[in-house]
């Protein structure tokens, strides 16, 4: 019985991880060449209800969004908001990496 209970608990934990939402979204962008460009993208992404934090890198041409627990932003919404800001979305990738880990990786990458 104890083994069964333990197995059930392990399975439940694995299942909850499988259905856990992503922590961050990385968005690749075209047209990002100046601080005003980045400011516009940052403002649009920060305005989303699911956004916790935003990082924009002109150097790497990406924006990273940290999502609030259990929340997400649809790809279509991201594309609409970025297009409305005047830029082009090249890629969208979701990750379980923390915001800090992902932004540090981006900053240190060549």
């Amino acid at each position: 019985m104890k083994k069964f209970t333990l197995a059930a608990m392990i399975l439940a934990a694995a299942a909850s991880n499988a259905f856990a939402s992503s922590k961050t979204i990385q968005i690749g962008l075209d047209g990002l060449v100046c601080a005003f460009c980045a400011q516009g993208v940052e403002k649009k992404l920060k305005a989303q209800a699911a956004t916790d934090k935003v990082f924009v890198s002109i150097d790497k041409k990406v924006a990273v969004v940290a999502l609030k627990a259990g929340q997400d932003i649809a790809d279509a919404t991201i594309k609409t908001e970025i297009t409305d800001a005047g830029y082009v979305v090249k890629s969208i990738a979701r990750s379980d990496e923390s915001f800090e880990a992902l932004t540090n990786k981006i900053k240190s990458s060549k």
Binding site: G31, V33, A35, F36, C37, A38, G40, I58
Partner: protein
């Protein structure tokens, strides 16, 4: 649809800037400054030259258009002509090219407002038989048309601008071209430092062509440009986006 929202501090600054600029000499929009920063941005700009000053405030409901007010004042070099004009102006992003490492833009603007102008040395009839030079004063409607474009990367900047002011009495056109270079490919959190060369051709209020050199400092939402023309006259421009 999200309602238009202004932060209180941005509105206060915009209003106070407009009130202050109402009594100041103001001037055409700086060449390097774009009339639209980004969607839902409030942009405040102030520029000063030897014989011109301008303050402009715009709001952009979308990234492709903005509207606002421009208050400007200009003198001729010999100080015999003067114009103080205010415009309600709308700006359009006609075309944008977003590339992986560059961006190009084409803007067009149109303004309508009112101008107060003076012109010294106009021959007038002081009394029967005697013509004397007088200062003529005019208060009349005014129009403004602007066409500007730019192409930039993280270290190279180029732009042109044609700025026309027209009243029934005055026609003034300023064409400006700029080339800029930044030694460092700056990122969003960095202070970007640019070195900019400029050529301006004036027609109307003044008739001359003048070169200048500037240092541009740019970080996050603040842009400051300071420099000097070949005739050793200083120029500055400040732009802030909210």
């Amino acid at each position: 649809m999200r309602p238009i929202q202004f932060s209180r501090s941005a509105v206060r600054l915009a209003v106070s800037t407009c009130v202050v600029s109402g009594g100041l000499a103001t001037l055409p929009l700086a060449v390097s400054a774009k009339p639209i920063a980004f969607s839902e941005a409030v942009t405040v700009m102030h520029e000063r030259e030897f014989n011109m000053r301008a303050t402009e405030v715009y709001y952009a409901p979308k990234h492709w258009w903005s509207l606002g007010i421009a208050d400007m004042q200009m003198n001729s070099d010999d100080k015999k002509r003067y114009m103080d004009a205010s415009f309600a102006q709308v700006n359009f992003l006609v075309k944008r090219w977003n590339m992986p490492n560059a961006q190009g833009n084409l803007f067009a603007s149109a303004g309508y407002g009112w101008a107060y102008s003076t012109k010294e040395g106009v021959m007038g009839l002081a009394h029967p038989g005697h013509m004397v030079a007088q200062t003529a004063r005019y208060s009349e409607s005014a129009r403004r048309f602007v066409l500007q474009g730019d192409y930039e990367t993280r270290q190279f900047y180029s732009s042109f601008k044609m700025d026309v002011h027209q009243t029934p009495l005055f026609f003034d056109r300023t064409d400006t071209a700029q080339l800029g270079f930044s030694p460092v490919a700056h990122d969003y959190e960095d202070l970007a430092v640019w070195f900019v060369a400029q050529v301006k051709k004036y027609r109307g209020m003044n008739d001359k062509t003048e070169a200048g050199a500037f240092v541009r400092l740019f970080k996050k939402n603040v842009w400051v440009e300071i420099g000097m023309t070949e005739s050793r006259k200083s120029q500055m421009m400040l732009m802030i986006n909210y």
